[in-house]
């Protein structure tokens, strides 16, 4: 399998690997898996509840090079974006940017799913935050 230079770069030097406090009300966590290859990806976003801007993004992905590169690239791309902008991101953007071959398109789908799952988790948390702590 020939990977593009960008994939190799993200695979060898992944950006934003790590963990954010999952209990923080402003952190949304998305944990998703690729049903066919068994890769798992966890994406966490720290979102400013006032402005809706994504202030930080961390990921941990266990899987093939393309899955790691897709999530690394996704975290780079969504930092500074608003929740709505990030939610609208399509996997095709990742495919184009990383030049993923057809057999690896599902890795980009995984990253898109992870972004959406993290945002949904954040929204669910915000909806249940007690009023007095919302300041």
């Amino acid at each position: 399998m020939a990977y593009s230079e960008k994939v190799i770069d993200h695979y060898q030097h992944p950006r934003n690997v790590g963990t954010l406090d999952p209990k923080d009300a402003n952190v949304g966590t998305g944990l998703v898996g690729a049903p066919e290859c068994g890769d798992v990806m966890r994406l966490q976003l720290k979102i400013n509840p006032e402005t809706g801007v994504i202030e930080d993004a961390k990921f941990k992905t266990f899987g093939c090079g393309s899955a790691i590169a897709s999530s690394s690239f996704a975290t780079e791309m969504i930092k500074g974006k608003t929740v709505d902008e990030a939610y609208a991101i399509k996997n095709t953007t990742i495919v184009q940017e990383l030049n993923l071959p057809p057999v690896k398109i599902h890795c980009s789908v995984l990253a898109e799913d992870a972004i959406k799952a993290a945002i949904e988790d954040f929204k669910k948390k915000q909806a249940t935050v007690p009023v007095e702590s919302m300041a």
């Binding site: 049903p35 290859c37 068994g38 798992v40 266990f62 090079g65």
Partner: protein, 197 residues
């Protein structure tokens, strides 16, 4: 392409591997490009295409998982579409992977041994889970194989769709455990897990 048709065998999950192998050599010897070196170029190209179809069909049908995936695809079921994962499975896999990372990062022997023994406990649990998954899949596949089914996906009954959907889901659950198993094995051998699908 229906690989079962290429081999002229019934569309079932279980197959007679010995028969498959014999049939493979038969088919291959009649279409092998070497047998057509003196033929016209059109016939030679046709033989080449046939030969590559036969190879692909054999590779797919030889092993149970690729074979099952192929059968499912013929009925319009894709393992890649199985987005629902049983609660807890992804979490457990993630925890185990983090334990591997902990094991690899540990510099002193004690921490390393501790991480490894926790990892062994986790993987033993997952191994039990994997056996249960395989047993259920085997059972469903055998039940499927002894009954008659339409070849046209549009004619599948709700019951048949449910059975195939469940098999697709079990294959996906197995994939998570398999990827983890590769990582654990690599960690134990002190090698980085290089996952290629």
């Amino acid at each position: 392409m229906d690989h079962y048709l290429t081999f002229g065998i019934d569309r079932t999950f279980g197959i007679d591997r010995e028969r498959l192998e014999k049939r493979f050599y038969q088919l291959q010897s009649s279409s092998h490009p070497d047998r057509h070196v003196r033929a016209e170029s059109e016939r030679r190209e046709q033989a080449l295409a046939e030969s590559s179809d036969i190879n692909e069909a054999y590779r797919t049908l030889r092993e149970p998982i690729p074979r099952a995936k192929h059968l499912l695809e013929l009925y319009g079921f894709s393992v890649a579409d199985q987005k629902s994962v049983p609660p807890g499975l992804l979490m457990t896999v993630m925890e185990a992977q983090e334990k591997i990372a902990e094991f690899e990062a540990a510099t002193d022997r004690e921490t390393k041994q501790e991480a490894m023994s926790e990892l062994v406990a986790i993987t033993e649990g997952l191994e039990t889970q994997r056996k249960a998954i395989d047993e259920e899949r085997d059972r469903l596949a055998r039940t499927w194989d002894i009954a008659m089914h339409p070849t046209d996906p549009a004619q599948l009954s709700d019951r048949e769709k449910e059975e195939l959907g469940r098999i697709a889901q079990l294959i996906s659950e197995r994939a998570y455990l398999e990827t983890l198993r590769i990582s654990v094995t690599a960690a134990r051998q002190g090698k980085p897990a290089f996952i290629q699908h």
